[in-house]
């Protein structure tokens, strides 16, 4: 619930925007002029009429007091959610310049919707309406068994294909192109193993990924083989690892276990998209527990995921962890108050400790690409040459021939105290966030949160030395 009378900051409002264009469009509408008959109950309901270029003004209502997160309604034809009018209205409200007075009675057109929502929300909270266990546990068990059988068949087939590939040699993979992989991926979809399908599809992209692809292809094939074997022998795995395998294969996981209430700082929020799905990743840091947690939210192709949280602010909320050893993913539960600014930030570590943490996390989940860490007092520096990017290979690194493509612009985060550094991941080097990070540093040390993995470090948020504000690098 939002505390009565507490207005949000513009940052909090803008964090609700589904994408950058909406944020911009919303900002433009966040001025008093075109709004009329605006008001707020002071308990979270905000409404107003927006005079656009049409003859009839749009009716915009927002209910930010809902336990499940803000809800919006607007008579405009936009399919963005929230639309720019809802954002604009909230910005005017946040501006506290008197355009949206508190303590008003909603007009009829707003009252109707609000009343309906409140009634639904009450109904949801009553015990009778909580989703109960499936009506027929026996049927559910049979369905699960059936699916496991299909996945087993899929994994077995995949093992055969990998075996064939290595028997004939991966050199042919470069010529085969996507076709073969796409077909195999489709077979895995049929086998109801979307996790396997996704990995297979990624295999298809490796041969065209530049120098060093044969090593990467062998590595990815080996890890896929490891996952197949993990599934086929899951009854012999420890519980945690078995859960990890199930979720990596693509079985839906459930958030379980006791909810953890904490003040969660939102460290980063970023989207990745393929042709089917937009995935939003939100990193949280619990200031009491010191725990780092990941929220995932999905949107169908081209649509923004529903969940959006304000980077840099802290939520007083409950989260529930997912099953699986070393699993960081959580589900957001009840929020107890509106997000508030905080000066707390995760404690940072040295580069050596960062790679060690990634290494340790691989014990619980060998398929991990990266692990969230915060580096303290590092300085972005330009790597001298390709050798620096290689230097991080372990003592056992027998892949001496591996050469990650070194662009002239390869950067690292250097620790001036220990003289060690983490190279930035190649994907991070081409993003605008890199220059934001360099500008923020100005050659002086700062604290950087990001994902540390075998391809290097991907910076996601940073804090300059002298101020507590989180700067997003996504």
């Amino acid at each position: 619930m939002t505390q009565q009378g507490v207005r949000w900051t513009a940052d909090q409002v803008l964090a609700l925007a589904p994408d950058a264009p909406s944020r911009k469009a919303g900002s433009k509408l966040g001025v008093a002029g075109p709004w009329s008959e605006a008001g707020s109950t002071g308990e979270g309901a905000v409404w107003g009429l927006y005079k656009g270029s049409g003859s009839k003004p749009y009716q915009t209502i927002v209910d930010i007091a809902d336990v499940a997160g803000p809800a919006y309604k607007c008579s405009c034809p936009s399919r963005k959610f929230p639309c720019k009018h809802a954002l604009g209205l909230l910005l005017v409200w946040a501006g506290s310049d008197g355009t949206v007075p508190d303590g008003g009675e909603p007009p009829a057109w707003a009252e109707e919707w609000l009343a309906a929502r409140r009634k639904r929300a009450d109904g949801k909270q009553s015990p009778s309406a909580t989703p109960s266990a499936p009506a027929d546990p026996e049927a559910a068990r049979r369905r699960a068994e059936k699916r496991a059988e299909r996945i087993t068949a899929g994994a077995t087939e995949l093992e055969q294909r990998l075996s064939d590939l290595l028997r004939g040699g991966t050199a042919s993979a470069e010529q085969m192109g996507y076709g073969l992989w796409e077909e195999t991926a489709a077979r895995m979809v049929d086998a109801q193993a979307p996790g396997l399908a996704a990995r297979v599809r990624e295999l298809g992209a490796v041969p065209s990924s530049g120098p060093g692809w044969p090593v990467r292809l062998l590595e990815e094939c080996a890890l896929l083989h490891l996952l197949d074997q993990g599934w086929l022998h899951r009854d012999r795995l420890p519980d945690g690892l078995a859960a990890t395998v199930r979720s990596r294969v693509g079985l839906p996981a459930q958030a379980e276990g006791p909810p953890v209430r904490d003040h969660w700082v939102v460290l980063a929020q970023y989207d990745t998209a393929d042709s089917r799905l937009t995935t939003r990743r939100i990193w949280l840091y619990g200031t009491e527990s010191g725990r780092t947690a990941l929220l995932l939210s999905y949107g169908a192709a081209g649509r923004a995921p529903a969940l959006a949280l304000p980077v840099g602010l802290a939520l007083d909320a409950e989260v529930t962890g997912y099953a699986g050893a070393g699993q960081l993913r959580v589900e957001l539960g009840e929020q107890f108050a509106a997000p508030v600014p905080t000066a707390r930030r995760p404690a940072g570590v040295r580069p050596e400790e960062a790679v060690a943490r990634y290494g340790a996390a691989l014990r619980d989940d060998p398929w991990l690409e990266s692990w969230p860490v915060t580096l303290a007092e590092v300085i972005p520096a330009r790597s001298r040459n390709a050798r620096d990017a290689q230097g991080r290979q372990g003592a056992q690194g027998t892949h001496a021939t591996q050469s990650t493509p070194s662009t002239p612009d390869s950067w690292q985060l250097a620790d001036p105290v220990t003289g060690s550094a983490l190279p930035l991941a190649p994907s991070a080097a081409s993003r605008p966030g890199l220059w934001r990070l360099i500008a923020l540093s100005g050659g002086t040390p700062l604290t950087v949160f990001g994902e540390c993995g075998h391809r290097g470090f991907t910076p996601l948020a940073a804090w300059p030395q002298d101020s507590g504000e989180t700067v997003s690098l996504c």
Binding site: L14, G169, S420, H454
Partner: protein
């Protein structure tokens, strides 16, 4: 192992270390590779640190208030081409507000937030008109960044000295060292900086090495004397009149002519005065002009260019240069102690009027002479003012610039009231922002008249755009009434009323945004 994988286990035997009895070769290979992969990843170590960059110079300016920082971030995300708005629609064009935002932030002395520097540099890269303001605001750290990213090289070129910290003017040995050893850009920066407060010191510095400088450099150095120009500089400039380089000679002559008491100004005054006289023999006193018959060596030495551009007569070309370079104080005693206004009003014989008035205009602009500027501008309502009279609109705009701000605004308001908006664009550009009330009202009234006349708003998009940038935000209240869709008059262009409503809406919203911007940037 990779080689075996590439060629295939059918063609190449497994390495002994990988071979496992009872396991098919491909599976054994995959098992070993999986182990190796996870082991490699788990065993990663940190790399040795590269050479650390030099820290950026500190920025002593106070940081932006949070609201202003958010506003700047929004303005910077509104790149042209996104949103597809163009000059249509009711939403404001944020990119157009950026120059104003920067000017205000610079006037208030705020420093840029480091994390926005990349976006700021990218904006300045795409728009050269933004560069001076953007780079001033961006401060020393932007130059530090520009050295790291070739995309932003322009920032180093655009900043004198490439952002090198200049020694304090009191630090004589350091000043001398930089002057003698510095790069060209650093020396220009040093000279320009010194000139603003210690004009004499700068001159001494220049004189000390003058004879050894290259011609192009001499020209640039000479140009820096414009700041703080005084009679102290005259002996040096007189000497530069004999320079080997023609461009240097011409610049020296121009600078001298801007010193009304200089010997050169006196010589030009004598020459010009001999060409213009009042003829009392006709019914009304009339100006007669006798253009020079030759360009002698003395004239040439004083900076007169002997060869006219194609299509111009030699004698009128010489006359123009003499009158332009002669101090305007020449004319009152010479022409019967008349005021500038009376002189300008005199008829001119033999079609010399436009030649003579144009040269006086250039002189008035160069010497920033208010009385002459006012006289040459005339009254805004005169029919001549809008037509192709003796003084073109471009020249009028320059003359206006020397008048006090309030008088400038009144003159342009009068011009708009008499001649409408279509010719006023150039003149509006030299008016102080925000527009004074009478000027703003004249513009809004004219837009209102244009709307009632039934034309489309985009015929006035230039003025509309200027109004968005220059109207006083407090006018928003008065404009509110214009955002309604009017009844269309019979002869109106179809749908024009709706477009006008949209255009006025954008104007109002933009003005409100500007008011918000102003409130967000209080004096620190």
């Amino acid at each position: 192992m990779v080689t075996t994988a590439l060629l295939g286990t059918d063609r190449r035997a497994l390495p002994a270390s990988v071979h496992t009895p009872g396991k098919e070769a491909p599976i054994a290979l995959l098992d070993a590779a999986a182990l190796q992969t996870v082991r490699r990843r788990a065993g990663l170590r940190a790399a040795p640190a590269a050479a650390l960059p030099e820290p950026a110079a500190g920025d002593p300016r106070p940081p932006l208030p949070p609201a202003a920082r958010r506003r700047l971030a929004t303005l910077l995300t509104d790149q042209p081409g996104t949103g597809g708005g163009g000059r249509r629609g009711a939403a404001p064009d944020l990119m157009e507000l950026l120059p104003q935002w920067l000017a205000l932030a610079n006037a208030r002395g705020y420093g840029a937030p480091p994390e926005l520097l990349p976006a700021l540099l990218n904006a300045a890269r795409g728009r050269t008109d933004l560069r001076p303001q953007a780079l001033t605001f961006a401060g020393p750290r932007a130059l530090w960044l520009a050295r790291l990213n070739p995309d932003w090289k322009f920032a180093l070129r655009a900043t004198p000295g490439g952002g090198v910290t200049l020694p304090s003017a009191d630090d004589a040995p350091e000043v001398q060292r930089l002057w003698e050893e510095g790069l060209f850009a650093e020396r220009v920066a040093l000279l320009t900086a010194l000139r603003a407060h210690h004009a004499g010191t700068a001159l001494d510095l220049l004189v000390s090495t003058w004879s050894t400088e290259r011609a192009e450099d001499r020209l640039m150095f000479l140009d820096s004397l414009r700041t703080g120009l005084s009679s102290v500089d005259e002996p040096f400039l007189e000497q530069a009149l004999t320079d080997r380089s023609r461009n240097v000679r011409a610049t020296a002559a121009e600078l001298l002519s801007a010193l009304p008491d200089s010997a050169l100004a006196g010589r030009m005054s004598t020459r010009a005065a001999s060409c213009v006289a009042v003829d009392h023999t006709s019914d009304t006193p009339t100006l007669t002009v006798e253009a020079p018959h030759e360009c002698d060596a003395g004239m040439e030495r004083d900076g007169v260019t002997p060869k006219p551009p194609a299509g111009r007569g030699e004698r009128s070309w010489w006359l123009g240069q003499l009158v332009e370079a002669a101090p305007l104080t020449t004319w009152q005693p010479r022409l019967g102690n008349r005021t500038p206004a009376e002189i300008v009003a005199l008829p001119v014989a033999d079609d010399w009027r436009s030649e003579l008035h144009a040269a006086w205009c250039r002189a008035a602009v160069r010497q920033r002479d208010v009385a002459w500027s006012r006289a040459l501008l005339g009254t805004p309502a005169s029919p001549d003012a809008a037509g192709p009279g003796a003084v073109s609109l471009a020249e009028r705009a320059k003359l206006l610039a020397s008048l006090p701000a309030a008088e400038r605004a009144d003159w342009v308001a009068g011009f708009i009231a008499a001649h409408g908006l279509s010719e006023a664009f150039q003149l509006l550009g030299v008016c102080a922002v925000p527009w004074a009330e009478p000027l703003g009202r004249a513009v809004v009234d004219s837009l209102n008249i244009a709307r009632d006349a039934g034309s489309y708003p985009w015929s006035f998009s230039g003025v509309m755009g200027l109004a968005e940038r220059c109207l006083d935000p407090s006018e928003a209240v008065r404009l509110e009434a214009l955002t309604a869709i009017p009844d269309e008059p019979e002869n109106a262009s179809p749908g024009a009323g709706g477009y006008w409503s949209e255009a006025f809406q954008r104007l109002v919203t933009t003005l409100r945004l500007r008011a918000a911007i102003r409130d967000e940037l209080p004096p620190p």
